[in-house]
């Protein structure tokens, strides 16, 4: 061991190195994209950044973006964990529908609303256990395994409604609606709930070794097993996390609409969630989890939607503009595309 290490002794990084390190940081690109969208909005619609207090709560486009992005962001956080293990969870929209049906059913049955909240989350956990069973124990490919619940989940929701003969039953619940559309002080409650979920998940992933194990399993399940990680259990728990996150979003969305509508509630939310993860720097190849980036990704998606609506463009443009922005963000993240851009700029090549 007396051969000197061939690497040169560490020196203080130069400014350009530090700049490059910043540019290489995954969060920079989604943050730039978000900033760009907001700046354009500021030009297009004056007063975009104005935040007023109306009826004792905060109002304004920025608050609106945060408010509307929250359910997708929470679903996307769970998705980020699953994608980190090289998996995917297509069933999140259906889990939301099932939670909605469970809430409406139990309110109809007259349970205390606090218990109903726990039951809804429990339903999500149960869905996660089902997905985890298929993926981690039976070793079915995640896209197929979660497709099963994605397809059947909305049917299950309708069947739950049938238990007591309800079709799109509406309800009121001070507790659940308080969580969804209420506000504590000036701040909408759901933003506080969302921040709480983010914090809890961040602590779980980054302050325990759970995140390292998730990323190890996502990077190479066989290597993780040989290194002593219980790869199955880790994979299984990723789907539990995703199920719980979807259930939390389900509570918010259901309470917001005052009704259980299993056919359309949370429809296509899995696609926005996957997109948010990818914009946030995650790769479907697994191995890395970026919770902060995922939140930014969800905000990028919602900011786009909101700005198209406030800019006066016909809402029909929404999906196409979204697609274009997504392509640009993903190109910015691609090392190859960045290199191509840099090589075209004169005098920038070393």
């Amino acid at each position: 061991m007396n051969r000197p290490a061939p690497s040169p002794p560490p020196t203080k990084p130069a400014l350009s190195d530090r700049l490059r390190a910043v540019a290489r940081h995954r969060m920079v690109w989604p943050a730039l994209a978000l900033a760009l969208i907001l700046i354009v909005d500021g030009f297009v619609s004056p007063g975009f950044f104005a935040i007023r207090i109306v009826e004792g709560r905060l109002f304004g486009s920025l608050i609106d973006i945060l408010y509307r992005a929250m359910p997708t962001a929470v679903v996307a956080l769970g998705m980020a964990v699953v994608i980190g293990t090289k998996g995917i969870d297509l069933s999140v929209g259906s889990i939301i529908a099932i939670c909605g049906a469970v809430i409406a059913w139990r309110i109809h049955a007259g349970d205390p609303h606090f218990v109903i909240l726990l039951l809804a989350l429990g339903a999500g956990l149960l869905c996660g256990m089902w997905n985890g069973l298929l993926v981690a124990v039976l070793e079915i490919q995640p896209i197929i395994a979660t497709l099963i619940l994605m397809v059947s989940g909305r049917g299950i929701g309708l069947m739950i409604n049938l238990i007591y003969g309800g079709t799109n039953p509406s309800f009121t619940s001070p507790l659940l609606q308080g969580l969804s559309v209420g506000h504590i002080g000036l701040v909408p409650t759901r933003l506080i709930v969302g921040a709480g979920i983010f914090l809890a998940l961040w602590l779980l992933v980054r302050r325990t070794a759970f995140g390292l194990f998730l990323e190890a399993v996502g990077g190479s399940p066989r290597a993780a097993r040989l290194a002593g990680v219980n790869a199955r259990l880790i994979q299984y728990s990723a789907y539990l996390v995703s199920g719980l996150c979807a259930a939390a979003a389900g509570v918010i969305l259901t309470a917001d609409t005052h009704t259980s509508d299993p056919v359309s509630e949370g429809l296509y939310i899995e696609l926005d969630a996957i997109l948010a993860v990818v914009i946030g720097g995650g790769s479907l190849a697994g191995g890395r989890i970026y919770l902060g980036g995922t939140i930014l990704g969800a905000l990028v998606i919602q900011a786009l939607t909101t700005s198209i609506l406030t800019s006066g463009l016909p809402p029909e443009y929404n999906l196409v503009v979204k697609a274009v922005v997504v392509i640009v963000v993903l190109l910015l993240q691609s090392a190859n595309a960045r290199a191509a851009v840099v090589s075209v700029l004169p005098g920038r090549r070393k």
Partner: protein
């Protein structure tokens, strides 16, 4: 020639357009050629086979050979001509295989030859081979050399990258030596004798490592730390007995496919035995698994580092800390400072060539990845270390280091089980050598009896 991380692979990637060079020019027949993509390299007459075979195992040999340049008729693929072209390419290498079978159904050696056949365009002038013999046995290597000599006679220039010194002297006319990304020597094989080659590669005189069995202390006689009794698995490995004592190195010898890896994995619990009993430190291990073995102080360094060893996306630090973390469980995370300390310590101790501990392991060279896996095992505080091919794909310098390291560990009271295809290496480190043939333990040779001849005789069943 050059050590791991010397820049061999990078150099040929620049030569073949896989990576764009940012200075200098490439001359072919005295004319500068622009090689900025693999396609351009091919058009210029430079064919390359990279270290890892880049073919599609599920497709037929024909498809692999013609992929991307299928002959066309009316815009459709002309499979008749494609087959003819494939047969012709195979014939040039004297390969008699059925081109319609999927490539994956052939041995790695054949796949390697198919990769060479693919790289050889009709008008190829230069052939670049990156470690072509890494996964070949001696016979297959000689066959490849026969083909290479034949190609040489037909006027093809060949760049042969290898860390097998003997092979280079067998096949090469001239040697270029790289170290840390710099060319440190070039000359004909007569001008650079082996000793000088090695010192050029290392930057100093090679220490004598092969002092062999003489300085191995007498085999320890204490209580065994790991005992396997009648452990086996149907269709994988016949039941075998194995004992490992603290401070002892046991070698696993045998031909390719004789069950070396299987024995190691069964002892570790990576393969679940369906018969027999494993005891670690006197305790019977029920339902052996890697996690259980790890908690009892047994670690394993796999042979196939790419799919079973490294986490390419994770940093050197995270890779090194993983096994210890798995042993502690998810609720007791290692502090960042502790992780940094362990990583720094291991980078120094094993001389891992990396710019810093935060670099993703996937960006390290093969030999350094191997060292990271070894570091991961060592950090977890093992009592038993199972090494499967610890020096596979590693250059001479690192090879000597790992042999020295194994001896040091055993002097500290670790028990080691080392599976290797290199007999000399096994003889140099082992107190006992377990010999395997056809997935069965056929003998155990102790101390001074363990000579090359004796092992080969046992393998051959004489």
């Amino acid at each position: 020639m050059g050590e791991n991380g010397a820049g061999k692979s990078t150099l040929i990637k620049v030569m073949t357009g896989a990576v764009r060079g940012d200075a200098g020019e490439i001359l072919l027949d005295g004319r500068a050629v622009r090689v900025d993509s693999p396609g351009a390299a091919r058009a210029a007459g430079i064919g390359a086979v990279y270290q890892e075979v880049n073919l599609v195992p599920t497709m037929s040999v024909t498809k692999n050979l013609t992929l991307g340049r299928q002959p066309r008729r009316f815009g459709l693929i002309d499979w008749r001509r494609a087959r003819a072209a494939a047969r012709q390419k195979l014939a040039r290498l004297d390969l008699r295989i059925d081109p319609e079978r999927p490539l994956g159904s052939y041995s790695v050696a054949i796949q390697q030859l198919v990769a060479i056949a693919r790289a050889l365009e009709d008008d190829a002038r230069v052939l670049v081979l990156d470690e072509p013999t890494a996964s070949l046995d001696a016979n297959e290597t000689q066959r490849l050399f026969g083909i290479l000599r034949d190609l040489k006679k037909r006027g093809l220039a060949i760049v042969f990258i290898s860390h097998f010194i003997d092979q280079v002297y067998q096949i090469a006319d001239r040697i270029t030596v790289l170290r840390n990304g710099i060319r440190v020597g070039v000359g004909s094989i007569a001008e650079i004798p082996p000793l000088q080659l090695v010192s050029l590669m290392l930057g100093h005189e090679l220490q004598e490592v092969e002092q062999a069995a003489a300085d191995l202390q007498a085999a320890p006689t204490g209580e065994p730390i790991l005992t396997a009794t009648g452990v086996g698995r149907r269709r994988v490995m016949e039941p075998f007995d194995l004992e490992l004592r603290p401070g002892e190195v046991v070698g696993l010898a045998g031909l390719l496919g004789s069950g070396r890896t299987e024995t190691a994995k069964l002892a570790f619990g990576a393969l679940r035995p369906d018969s027999g009993e494993i005891r670690i430190a006197g305790r019977v291990v029920l339902a052996p698994s890697p996690g259980r073995s790890l908690r009892l102080g047994v670690t394993f360094c796999p042979e196939d580092r790419k799919s079973e060893g490294i986490f390419a996306e994770l940093s050197v630090r995270e890779n090194i800390g993983l096994a210890l973390q798995a042993r502690r469980g998810w609720l007791r995370p290692l502090s960042r400072r502790e992780q940094d300390r362990l990583a720094r310590e291991m980078i120094d101790k094993l001389a891992i060539a990396t710019s810093d501990a935060e670099k993703p392991v996937g960006q390290l060279s093969g030999g350094n990845q191997q060292k990271v896996i070894l570091a991961r095992s060592l950090v977890s505080g093992p009592r038993v270390l199972i090494l499967d091919e610890p020096t596979r794909g590693i250059d001479v310098g690192a090879h000597a280091e790992i042999v020295t390291l194994i001896r040091g560990l055993c002097a500290q009271g670790l028990a080691l089980l080392v599976a290797s295809s290199e007999l000399d290496e096994l003889i140099a480190v082992s107190h006992r050598i377990v010999v395997l043939r056809d997935r069965k333990k056929v003998g155990e040779i102790r101390g001074a009896d363990a000579t090359r001849e004796r092992i080969i005789q046992t393998i051959a069943g004489a």
